[in-house]
């Protein structure tokens, strides 16, 4: 969040804010942080998109269906983005989440067909299998000392290969899964869809951990400077391992929810969604080189990505341009990051010289 600081360093107040923010009153500090946060900026963009679409077609927001879709559609990507954010904060990346999602989505269907396990057990199975697949990534990255990009690119293909071999040209149809499970994909409690509630609960849990727990703060430390973290005595391996396991578990959960939501699962389920997850994280203000950003930002980024895709055709922008718009957003976010980071660095230097 320090990347968002951009005041004139000449006034003593500004210097104080940069060099020693804790000297300011607490209320004011929080207000400044919120107002200057990337999260707020993306949230405003998101609200603008929703407003534009609603103005063109009021039913974008004002019908029971569209309210549900608005909240429901991003929930799967939201889970992936939360996991991805944790991994990216440690200066790693997890490209295998799309394949993990595909694998657990297919597993979900197979478990219903072959074993008749209760719904809760199937959800847990998806979560556990996802976590194990994530652990494989974590072990390879933490102990193999190979860049996560390469490792998870490899497991992206390996896991997808497993699904392809297993599923072949077979496919899970809605007919194969119990009604109660499929209803989970569309049901609402107090007009909030169940899948969204699941995603939000996960999000709050992860967000709180990152913000206040010792382990969470260590993840930021590792991402800021991995070597320094080792010298400082942090258990870098264990933390990185845990981050990948979490990302895998959330991708596994997302796979189960995918099956509930879409009702059909083929071997190609979730192909390419890992890039959307990375995009959501980047748009949400998590620096790709680790050490900064929040899961809230990533979640809003995911929400924005999905909602933009839904809103563009309504606003009248043709199908084919939607990807270009998303690309523009990503590049815009990165450029903004760079500019803000450079500016903050410069001002910090100036502030230090002034002080």
């Amino acid at each position: 969040m320090s990347a968002a600081q951009s005041t004139e360093p000449s006034t003593p107040d500004a210097v104080e804010r940069l060099v020693e923010p804790s000297r300011q009153p607490r209320g004011r500090r929080i207000l400044t942080t919120v107002l200057r946060s990337r999260e707020l900026a993306i949230l405003i963009v998101l609200l603008l998109v929703i407003a534009a679409a609603t103005l063109t077609t009021p039913s974008f927001l004002f019908s029971s269906n569209s309210w549900r879709d608005l909240l429901l559609t991003p929930s799967i990507l939201l889970l992936l983005a939360a996991g991805q954010a944790v991994v990216v904060i440690t200066r790693n990346v997890d490209l295998s989440v799309g394949s993990v999602l595909g694998l657990t989505a297919y597993l979900t269907g197979r478990l219903f067909i072959d074993t008749g396990l209760p719904v809760v057990a199937v959800i847990l199975a998806g979560l556990v299998v996802g976590m194990l697949l994530g652990l494989v990534n974590g072990v390879l990255v933490a102990f193999g000392r190979v860049p996560a990009l390469v490792i998870t690119l490899g497991t992206l293909y390996i896991y997808r290969g497993v699904v392809l071999t297993w599923a072949g040209s077979d496919r899970i149809n809605a007919d194969d899964m119990p009604r109660s499970f499929l209803r989970l994909g569309t049901a609402s409690i107090l007009s909030i869809p169940v899948l969204t509630i699941i995603a939000l609960v996960v999000l709050v849990g992860v967000g709180y951990y990152l913000y206040s727990a010792r382990g969470g703060r260590e993840l930021y430390a590792i991402g800021s400077d991995p070597d320094a973290a080792v010298l400082y005595g942090l258990d870098v391996r264990r933390r990185v391992l845990a981050a990948f396991a979490l990302s895998g578990a959330l991708a596994g959960l997302a796979g189960v929810l995918f099956a509930a939501r879409y009702g059909t699962v083929s071997s190609g389920a979730g192909t390419g969604i890992e890039l959307q997850a990375v995009a959501a994280v980047v748009i949400g203000g998590v620096a790709i080189f680790g050490g900064s950003g929040t899961v809230w930002g990533a979640a809003i980024g995911a929400f924005l990505l999905v909602t933009i895709n839904r809103a563009l055709p309504i606003v009248g922008i043709p199908d084919f341009w939607q990807r270009a718009v998303v690309g523009g957003l990503i590049i815009g976010a990165i450029v903004l990051d760079r500019v803000l980071a450079n500016r903050t660095a410069r001002k910090l230097t100036e502030a230090r010289e002034d002080a």
Binding site: T57, R160, A167, S169, R171, D175, T264, T271, R310, I314
Partner: protein, 345 residues
């Protein structure tokens, strides 16, 4: 094309056994039994290359192909990419050519992009049969057409017209924007609608790229941007299932009609819960079965792919090659609540 076919035949003859050559030359235009090469030809190797794996439609057609190949005593193989893109098919075509497979039966992801690879395969002696989605005619020996494009377009227009009372706004949810057959059908549907159903207005065509999630989200967007929509036509198996899934849990269920091309197994749930009244498809198993027999007839020389060639396709009976080397399977079947349980594919 004729010259190419002859050259391909000659090359094929070189690589095959002497007995095979005799059968090939002796076959000529003799329409006799399609499985004539069974004894003399040894095991005909046939490889099926669908647009992509994980697609129930091709699962059924490949099963039909396998059945046919087993009937005439050949060797069946199935390969395919994960995603329905032309570049993904090229490597499989190259492999088939290198392996010296007798016949390649494929559904093309692009009418021209895989042409070079196919030409190479044919010059290596492999017979090329397209089914479901054709290439340009010069790149293959025979195209096994599921039904005439007019028949397919008409059956879907008739279904939607009946379901919405021949009046109101409809939209199309297609596969990829450059999918050959979907685009042909869409053009014909437009003509049919304009000529015979003046009160039906086609308001939009969207593309779900044969991806569950994308088709699902496109359906939602379609309904949102056209609140007074009365019907959706989805001439692709992935699209219709995704659209049905969306409709089945939405306020639009029963208000917006959905029809198109789908497989009974995918659609059973939605036909039974009343989301979908009826949809059409030719029997893909029969399509694969016919394609395999066509491949066999090409390999043993019963047909060369020219207009008027006749052959027998096992249980399906006699077929004649039409202009441009096309063999037509027949009329599509309509599936509804009454007959859907009679089918399993």
């Amino acid at each position: 094309m004729k010259i190419q076919t002859k050259r391909a035949t000659a090359l094929a003859a070189l690589t095959l056994s002497a007995a095979m050559v005799l059968t090939a030359c002796g076959g000529g235009s003799d329409s006799g039994s399609g499985s004539g090469g069974e004894g003399g030809g040894g095991a005909t190797t046939v490889t099926f290359l669908p647009k992509n794996l994980g697609n129930p439609y091709f699962e059924a057609s490949d099963a039909g192909g396998k059945k046919a190949v087993e009937e005439f005593g050949g060797t069946f193989d199935e390969v395919g990419p994960q995603e329905a893109t032309p570049d993904a098919q090229v490597q499989y075509i190259n492999t088939v050519a290198q392996q010296g497979i007798n016949a390649l039966v494929l559904s093309a992801n692009d009418p021209t992009a895989i042409g070079d690879a196919l030409e190479e395969a044919r010059s290596a002696g492999t017979k090329v049969v397209t089914f479901d989605s054709d290439t340009e005619p010069q790149f293959r020996d025979v195209f096994v057409n599921q039904a005439s494009a007019e028949g397919i377009a008409k059956s879907q227009v008739d279904l939607i017209a009946e379901q919405i009372g021949d009046e109101g706004k409809v939209a199309i949810l297609s596969a990829a924007a450059n999918a050959t057959n979907q685009n042909t059908w869409i053009e014909l549907m437009k003509k049919d609608l304009a000529a015979n159903h003046p009160n039906i207005e086609l308001v939009d065509t969207v593309y779900g790229n044969d991806d569950d999630q994308e088709s699902f989200d496109k359906t939602a967007a379609l309904l949102q941007s056209n609140p007074d929509l009365k019907g959706i036509i989805s001439p692709t198996t992935v699209g219709i299932a995704a659209a049905a899934r969306y409709l089945s849990d939405s306020d639009f269920k029963g208000k917006v009609q959905l029809t198109g091309l789908g497989t009974p197994n995918q659609m059973r749930e939605y036909v039974k819960d009343g989301t979908v009244k009826g949809f059409a498809l030719w029997n893909p198993e029969e399509l694969g079965y016919l394609a395999a027999f066509t491949a066999q007839a090409l390999v043993d020389g019963t047909i060369t792919g020219k207009e008027g060639d006749k052959f027998t396709a096992g249980d399906l009976g006699d077929y004649t090659v039409e202009a441009d080397g096309v063999v037509v399977l027949g009329e599509p079947t309509v599936f509804n609540a009454d007959n859907i349980d009679d089918f399993d594919f």
